[in-house]
């Protein structure tokens, strides 16, 4: 029987994995991308372009058109035209066929989409390959099936399309968010003007190519690129019937102000600061894995990330020790390497935001712990980080960091943890870890969060609605709820 003086594990020496980069030869990217309006790629009126950068090596991948007011007008006009003349009149079964076709084409080009998603956004290829792209295609498949069954989805309520939907999506799940927005809108008979985020426009533009290839009638989906100003122009356009936005709470508030007093409908999916709660009777090793997935999935750029960990006091030391050991095994680096667990932070601006919060946390007196992994010299990277000894009053506990940073608090009783979990302006998601079913149901009724996961975390499915309470927004995406957001009755 061997014996060592210290009971710590060694995850740094010994056998190491060789680099396993995903092949990039098969992808087709243009140097320059135009706006996708009325079924064609057209140059922006003012001829302005901006660059999109690979956050893992800071190299420019392509330049992308910046849409101004004229371009937005053109796109909305094309969408209105398509709605009135073609798409709004088309029988649901016919609409469904087009949506199925888009889904199948996405599957066929899944590899290419995954590589581009990782290049443009910095997320590890394991995630874009196994989660983002398959899930995006599944959303199209799922909503395609509803297109001719809306009367069965909402019996006796005479569902009708809204018209033209303006959709603005974030940079954390570029293609997946495009799918979440476009698929239900089309299934319900609406037409779309979509603006992807300025740091991650490429997969949406590849989707435009797929849409072109699918033969979808011209103008049904228009994809215009640009920054905040383009988005604001879209939101303020008078001929839009519905705004669907996913992004920061700050921008969500601006949008709500802008559309107040108009007849525009809206759904907003905003920030979050989810509580992930581990009880002493939880399956501890699986809970640790759930904590890791909850906060380090997609570099923590997840609105529903489990960024506030609450551990029952009597198991806290054990959970934290295991968490630290598990963090040592996370591989941070090239997003295109198949073994990478944590890729690049999406942009320099976001890296600065995260680093600023790391400083705030230290200044507030929280104890910082980072894994010992090496990170590449070039590109935007952040080590997986824990903050111990935090309290509800700390800014790092209250504010959404949107990075691989977890704050940890302990608790003694169920009442205490419910109060702390709810004591936050957000309410998007939460996680509960316990072996006891009754405890799970007690918490799901009391936690004010749109999604509560039990003994798992970050599970998404097209059939399941997703959305928040309080400052995390309103409206639901996914499932039947996601359909009703694009219908009037």
């Amino acid at each position: 029987m061997g014996k060592k003086t210290t009971n710590s594990l060694d995850f740094t020496s010994g056998w190491a994995y060789a680099p396993a980069p995903e092949d990039t030869k098969h992808i087709q990217l243009k140097k320059q991308y135009d706006l996708f309006i009325d079924g064609k790629f057209v140059k922006p009126t003012k001829g302005k372009y901006f660059e999109t950068v690979n956050p893992a090596n800071e190299e420019v991948i392509a330049s992308v058109a910046e849409a101004d007011e004229n371009d937005v007008n053109k796109a909305v006009k094309a969408a209105r035209n398509a709605y009135q003349k073609v798409w709004g009149k088309m029988p649901g079964a016919e609409r469904g066929k087009y949506i199925y076709r888009i889904a199948r084409l996405m599957q066929e080009r899944a590899r290419e989409l995954a590589v581009i998603e990782s290049m443009d956004g910095g997320k590890p290829i394991r995630e874009s390959r196994d989660i983002d792209i398959p899930l995006a295609a599944n959303h199209f498949f799922y909503y395609a099936g509803w297109a001719d069954k809306l009367n069965y989805a909402f019996p006796n309520r005479k569902p009708k399309a809204l018209g033209v939907a303006g959709q603005i999506i974030p940079w954390n799940f570029p293609l997946l968010m495009a799918a979440w927005k476009i698929a239900p809108a089309l299934a319900c008979g609406n037409t779309v003007v979509l603006k992807p985020a300025e740091t991650t426009p490429l997969t949406a533009l590849k989707l435009a190519e797929i849409i072109q290839e699918s033969g979808l009638p011209e103008g049904v989906v228009n994809i215009i690129t640009g920054a905040g100003k383009t988005g604001a122009t879209l939101v303020n356009h008078p001929d839009i019937n519905k705004i669907a936005f996913t992004g920061s709470t700050d921008v969500g508030k601006i949008i709500q102000k802008a559309i107040a007093g108009t007849s525009k409908k809206s759904t907003l999916e905003l920030g979050g600061k989810a509580a992930n709660i581990v009880f002493d009777d939880a399956p501890i090793d699986q809970a640790v894995e759930g904590i890791i997935n909850g906060i380090f999935f997609n570099q923590g750029h997840v609105c529903c990330a489990g960024s506030r960990l609450f551990i029952q006091e009597n198991v806290a030391d054990m959970v934290i020790q295991k968490l630290k050991d598990r963090m040592e095994t996370l591989i941070v680096g090239n997003p295109l390497d198949k073994n990478t667990d944590i890729g690049a932070i999406n942009s320099k601006a976001q890296l600065n935001t995260i680093n600023n919060y790391l400083k705030i946390g230290k200044d507030e007196g929280a104890e910082l712990y980072q894994s010992s992994c090496s990170i590449p010299k070039k590109g935007y990277f952040c080590r997986p980080t824990l903050f111990l000894n935090t309290s509800q009053s700390h800014r790092i506990v209250q504010e959404e960091i949107f990075g691989p940073v977890l704050t940890i608090q302990t608790f003694r009783t169920v009442e205490e943890v419910i109060e702390k979990a709810n004591n936050i302006p957000y309410g998007l998601s939460a996680g509960v870890w316990t072996d006891k079913g009754s405890k799970i149901f007690n918490l799901t009724t009391k936690l004010r969060a749109g999604v509560v996961w039990a003994n798992t975390y970050n599970k998404f499915d097209p059939t399941s609605p997703f959305g928040g309470y309080k400052e995390s927004g309103f409206g639901r995406e996914g499932g039947l709820h996601g359909l009703s957001a694009y219908l009037e009755f």
């Binding site: 029987m1 594990l9 010994g14 056998w15 396993a20 009777d281 399956p283 699986q286 095994t329 198949k338």
Partner: protein
């Protein structure tokens, strides 16, 4: 080693969530092991194998042949390691010991009324003593699954402790036959009982029951070893056995080991594969990495 270890209440072991375990295992299997990492991993696998023959029809001749194979895995390629051990029935220990004289390959013997364990404790002790007296370096015992499922944890504990005492210097591997324990919670419980009772290794299966070793079962056992180490500072070895017959699966098991227990366990003192046909598939992969082409099965000797 005079440290006093408190024996926990085995009815209160930590729970295991099967869905979570399976997800974690699936993630190990997505690790891409290429080039030099692959060759290094495969050689490590060879060096961790307990080359096994446990059949009623085993003869001394067959055991001698297998012992030669254990020390000469594939002489075409110089620089290959030997296997860790050979694993035989008690009646073959003497033959194996003789055949392996001068090598570092250990002789492991199953004992305690293997594979069912359905006999009296006295006979199990005698069975173990017979193997040890014949020179076995390692004893692979089976637990009394019937008593375990009855909830008779103290009986199981005492039996393991008694066999451990009988082993003397021989290292004790405790086989749970996880295919008969039915739940991962039971696997976790059996792991703790065995480790606190003095097991040097915990082992999944006899190879006589299906399912034998699986990744989820092995992960639960590795996590139990980790918790035991955190609490006591004592390292315990792991041996998945049965059903691991190809190189790719074996590499997934190594990934799981590396990411659960770390580098200290990545050697044949703390980790073994119980297998009869795994070695040749690993050799085939190593030859492919060396020469660039796959060779047919008949280019690798079967003993």
């Amino acid at each position: 080693m005079n440290k006093i270890i408190n024996i926990p209440d085995f009815t209160q072991t930590v729970t295991v969530d099967q869905v979570g375990v399976e997800e974690r295992c699936a993630r190990f299997a997505t690790r891409s092991i290429k080039k030099e990492a692959k060759v290094q991993g495969l050689k490590m696998v060879l060096n961790m194998i307990d080359l096994t023959t446990l059949e009623g029809k085993d003869t001394e001749g067959k055991v001698k042949q297998m012992c030669y194979k254990a020390t000469h895995l594939h002489d075409v390629l110089p620089g290959l390691p030997t296997t860790a051990a050979v694993c035989v029935y008690p009646s073959m220990v003497k033959t194996a010991k003789e055949a392996l004289k001068g090598s570092h390959v250990k002789v492991a013997s199953v004992a305690t009324a293997f594979p069912s364990g359905q006999s009296s404790t006295e006979i199990k002790v005698a069975d173990t003593r017979y193997a040890v007296d014949n020179g076995a370096d390692e004893i692979d015992m089976v637990i009394s699954r019937g008593e375990f499922l009855k909830g008779n944890y103290n009986f199981v504990f005492d039996e393991i402790a008694l066999i451990k005492e009988t082993c003397g210097k021989a290292r004790l591997k405790v086989i749970f036959e996880t295919g008969e324990l039915s739940t991962l919670d039971n696997v976790r419980k059996a792991s703790e009982i065995a480790m606190y009772a003095g097991a040097d290794f915990i082992k999944t299966s006899t190879g006589k029951i299906s399912p034998a070793a699986t990744m989820p079962v092995t992960l639960v056992m590795l996590e139990a070893i980790r918790d035991f180490y955190y609490k006591t500072g004592i390292m315990v070895g792991m041996k998945p056995a049965g059903g691991i017959s190809n190189a790719k699966t074996a590499l997934h098991y190594l990934v799981m080991l590396k990411e659960t227990l770390g580098a200290s366990w990545l050697n044949n003192h703390w980790y073994r594969f119980g297998a009869s046909s795994l070695a040749n598939d690993v050799l085939m992969q190593i030859m492919k990495e060396t020469t660039g082409v796959y060779q047919g099965v008949d280019y690798f000797s079967k003993d």
